[in-house]
Symmetry: C2
Subunit: 309 residues, 2 copies
């Protein structure tokens, strides 16, 4: 279970290791998005994404003996980087299972943090992860379907409440549902009137479709600009939390995800991943239930994009 | 003359037309720059640079009759955009004198704000500007050598003091000296212990060289990445103010200006002009007299860079 108390405990556990990222007022976007625009800049977090919060909370909650045996995670992106960073910090050993197709820069980035990289076919990564866990006694660090992970991500919600107490609406990208589960629990426990809106790519709206069906659907693999939001099925532990606490889940077209990122770059002067800009895209698409005088905080989940300079 | 009272008056005059830009904590840069890093994000200002502050203060201080005759400014960059924007806002008419070499995007951007564009040879722009002023009665809006302009730019200093009252050092790019004159006057009048450091390109260190010589030197034209800081001579009205109030002026190598911009992009996730990143470059070069526990606010003067996406 995840509770406000567990999120407070997570905050005490991880706060000396992470950044309190800024909430930034982006005046220049107001007329484009139709609200008072704020961002919670987790693209400026350590490892450049929020994932470090959950990874650290999980690993700091483990018995030391288990931590010393090592951890394993399947992820080609931000979760892998977060786990590798946390393992280095806590003198554990991380093995990150990456698909063969992972770009060299990500492989090298994770290796540079001291983690071992195992590559396999994309479809086999969970089997490989479980085998590594069985063979070596590594603890699997799931990217979202875990209460300690959710509690860690929820600390971003506590920060938003402290930094922008009169926020009206918080807009959060959804993949498996770890981040939004944590933030919604924190925010709704303290200020139930603050609206929480989830945003997922229209091409793979696993939450929207599952809500319609009344159960967790497993969707087919898709491509999206929002490469961190490609999870095929809502997390088992996340689904009921999102169902209960999130006010609305909207889905955004690819063209708007692209426009969201461009707008954040050209008007906001902020670099974010496409997956992070999806909320901005939703506002541009006009599908967020927000109004002109509302303070809306867009959670910018990560900033790991390659820059050509 | 420029006084604190004139800067307060400028703030009252312009504040409903501009943004109070955020001061942003950039934790991720601390270990690279050797201090607690904050930026004053004027790249997020209207017209994406601080220049709108001075332009608006100047034009709102003019007799209405003069404003209605129109204004003229020589600038291929941010000052031209600021003047064009202010003229549109105040129902005046702006003519911006641009060099033949100005990139189409800048010409179009200024035209899009409703300003008339006159192009001529770079060396002739001041002659052309003065002729336009004489022929049509346009008031010349100087980019820096004007007390109303300085007072307008100084409002950014008042904001920094309110947003980060315990700042230790403020680092400001120097071209002609308008911005630093205004901010130094505001800051030193209120909190004389706060250090003000000016930063200029080493290839054209008109302030550093003029201080050595004891008089305003006219340097030869140079190229620099910091294309907004190419002024050949300190402003006549600015020079004594900078001499009196600024604690130190340092000059930064081209390679470090480039690294400053890249660092702000890749680690800070912030898009700024090279001219704006020069202070970050100075810190990377290790030439700022700052220490680890100091709060240092880098003024990011503009964000008008072309993005290739």
């Amino acid at each position: 279970m995840i509770t406000l108390e567990k999120i407070h405990a997570a905050k005490r556990r991880i706060s000396s290791y992470i950044y309190e990222t800024p909430v930034i007022r982006l005046n220049g976007l107001d007329h484009l998005l139709g609200c008072h625009v704020y961002i919670k800049a987790e693209n400026m977090q350590k490892t450049n994404s929020f994932k470090i919060r959950g990874a650290l909370n999980k690993m700091l909650s483990m018995p030391l003996e288990q931590l010393q045996k090592g951890v394993v995670a399947a992820s080609s992106g931000n979760h892998g980087k977060g786990v590798a960073y946390a393992a280095k910090l806590l003198n554990s050993k991380a093995t990150i299972v990456l698909p063969d197709s992972a770009p060299t820069i990500k492989v090298e980035g994770i290796r540079a943090l001291g983690a071992e990289v195992v590559q396999c076919k994309l479809a086999e990564r969970h089997v490989v992860t479980e085998k590594l866990s069985r063979d070596h006694g590594y603890c699997i660090i799931h990217p979202y379907d875990d209460y300690d992970i959710m509690a860690g991500q929820g600390t971003a919600g506590l920060e938003i409440l402290a930094q922008l107490p009169d926020v009206n609406t918080i807009v959060i990208p959804i993949g498996g549902g770890g981040l939004i589960s944590g933030i919604a629990t924190a925010v709704k426990s303290i200020s139930p009137h603050i609206r929480i809106i989830g945003v997922e790519p229209a091409v793979i709206s696993r939450y929207g479709k599952s809500f319609e069906a009344g159960e967790r659907l497993l969707l087919k693999e898709q491509k999206s600009l929002a490469d961190a939001l490609l999870t095929l099925q809502p997390g088992e532990r996340n689904f009921p939390i999102v169902q209960q606490l999130v006010d609305e889940v909207v889905s955004v077209d690819e063209a708007l995800i692209h426009r969201g990122m461009k707008t954040l770059l050209s008007e906001g002067k902020i670099i974010a991943e496409p997956s992070s800009s999806i909320g901005i895209g939703a506002a541009l698409q006009g599908i967020l239930p927000i109004s002109k005088n509302e303070k809306v905080c867009f959670l910018i989940s990560g900033g790991n994009v390659e820059l050509q300079q």
